[in-house]
Amino acid sequence: MATLLRGALRPLRAFPGSGRLAADVPLRATSHGAGILYPEHIPTSPLQKALLAAGSAVMALYDPYRHDMVAVLGETTGRRTLKFLRDQMKRDPEGAQILRERPRISTSTLDLGKLRSLPEGSFGCEYLRFLDVNRVSPDTRAPTRFVDDEELAYVIQRYREVHDMAHTLLGMPINIPGEIVVKWFEAVQTGLPMCILSALFGPIRLSARSLQVLVSELVPWAVQNGRRAPCLLNLYYERRWEQPLGALRQELGITEPPVRVEGLV
């Protein structure tokens, strides 16, 4: 019976002020309601962000299939760059509209039936073909967790969701060389530290032949296009499904890739 009393007392004793917790122990925000800025948010201290950045970088190199580690690296290292990207989105009319309306790309927000019915060669049709051929879905993007600003969290979420659009526009498949080319493009466009690190360290695991092709032809092409094209985050893709892919590429100044990437490994 005495223990039942203690059981009742215990939740009270655990509250702060009981002296059992040190000052820097981050109390779980869900139990206190404070600090959570968006549904998946996990508030982290600077030390935790530093550890996450270092650890996720190592893990992403060690196991390239850990996409969640690349995502975590992006979130923990990109604060300054995300602010810059958000500001330049605000300056662009289409970008500002995106920030206001906050469109999301997932199987629940995309009208796949309508996209399938679009004419051959249109952006929407080509995007859908890219998803089918590579057997990916827009739902596999991890939600943002470690960005401590609600608007910046949206910016990085949008960046992740339009990554597949970048693949479609550049005509790159999702094998490792294809991903590296897209990362170079994005690194030049966005300046996110995660893109730069992936672009520089990603090729470590490639064969010599692929590396050769990458360095001599694909990367210069990607960099050139990246500089020429306006920021991909400023495009309201949801309004451009009917636009022919060729015309869209011309508008952005993106040329055809110099080599086929499918055969590389």
């Binding site: 005495a2 215990r10 939740p11 655990a14 650890g55």
Partner: protein, 327 residues
């Protein structure tokens, strides 16, 4: 429970209550306390009794079991790797020390509750096997005047290498048991162990069955710790021993501060990077803080009927081994 004993405990609690919470304002509790210690519980206590803690969150008791199940289902595959990473391998020493304290002899019937991945069980089997082999060597040496045929016959005798010892591994979580079985196969542990799916609060065993009951790093996840302790008392034989290895309160303030920083800053990060699961490891470190300190847990064990209850702090109290006997 005997009326005089609980009266003494109640009055002790009464003093303890005012010490712990000087500003306590549970309605009805303070005033009714000295007058009717064995009377009915006031209503506010009734309401709070159906809620409990899940780390630093407050959840209903029905929810907690399910949530804890999900945590261990998700961490099962990386459980051992994470244990090594989080404790820098020291958890192996702690478990070895538990076995040392136990000093099982061949023939011991062990019940390892919340024993999922089998760490304690495998150590137990190794220990009794080594003991049994030593005993046999001693016997052989004492029989130096035997003929060669008789000695050869002794070696050929397919004796039970464990000398009758047996360990029953009980866990509430199927995933943890699955990992444990895989490890047993890989480690070559074929005889002397059985895997049972069961709840520590309601064990699927008869009374007075086991010599030793262990629960290593499991009891803090149980919703009703007192029920688990009562079950432990029930299934042990008279003379049986209860052993609990669990995280506890650190007694050194400097170590405590470092430990807090490490627990809350580093461990969830490790969980995210290695296992891709921040929230489970956040729960784990919070549940450690919610567990009662050594003395209080010792009193809970005594309440369940155990005697000669002692505890030993390891690593400045990060971990403690509590031991009690059913006499």
């Amino acid at each position: 429970m005997a009326a005089p004993r609980s009266w003494a405990l109640w009055s002790l609690c009464g003093r303890g209550l005012s010490r712990v919470m000087p500003g306590c304002t549970i309605p009805g509790l303070r005033s009714s306390w000295p007058r009717s210690p064995l009377g009915a519980r006031p209503l506010s206590q009734e309401k709070r009794a159906t809620e409990t803690h899940f780390g630093f969150e407050t959840v209903s008791e029905e929810e907690k079991g399910g949530k804890v199940y999900q945590v261990f289902e998700s961490v099962a595959k990386k459980y051992d790797v994470m244990n090594d990473m989080m404790s820098l391998g020291i958890h192996r020493v702690w478990k070895d020390l538990l076995l040392w304290k136990m000093h099982p002899f061949p023939g011991t019937q062990l019940l390892d509750v919340a024993g999922g991945t089998g760490d304690i069980a495998f150590r137990f089997l190794n220990y009794v096997q080594a003991q049994h082999q030593r005993k046999q060597k001693r016997q052989l040496r004492a029989q130096q005047n035997l003929s060669w045929e008789e000695i050869a016959k002794k070696y050929q005798n397919e004796e039970d290498s464990l000398g009758g010892s047996h360990v029953m591994i009980c866990d509430i979580n199927k995933e943890m048991l699955k990992i444990g079985k895989q490890k047993a196969c890989a480690g070559g542990y074929k005889a002397g162990l059985d895997w049972v799916l069961g709840d520590a609060e309601e064990l699927p065993f008869d009374d007075d069955k086991f010599d030793v009951y262990t629960i290593a790093f499991g009891i803090r996840n149980v919703t009703h710790i007192d029920r688990a302790l009562q079950e432990a008392h029930r299934v042990l034989k008279p003379g049986g021993r209860f052993l609990c290895l669990e995280f506890s309160q650190v007694n050194n303030p400097l170590v405590s501060r470092l430990y807090d920083v490490y627990s809350f800053q580093v461990i969830p990060v490790l969980g995210e990077i290695i296992a891709g699961d921040w929230k489970s490891y956040q729960y784990l470190v919070e549940s450690i803080r919610q567990f009662p300190p050594q003395e209080e847990f010792k009193e809970m064990i005594e309440d369940a009927g155990f005697q000669k209850v002692t505890y030993e702090n390891l690593t400045s109290g990060i971990v403690a081994i509590h031991s009690g006997f059913k006499l």
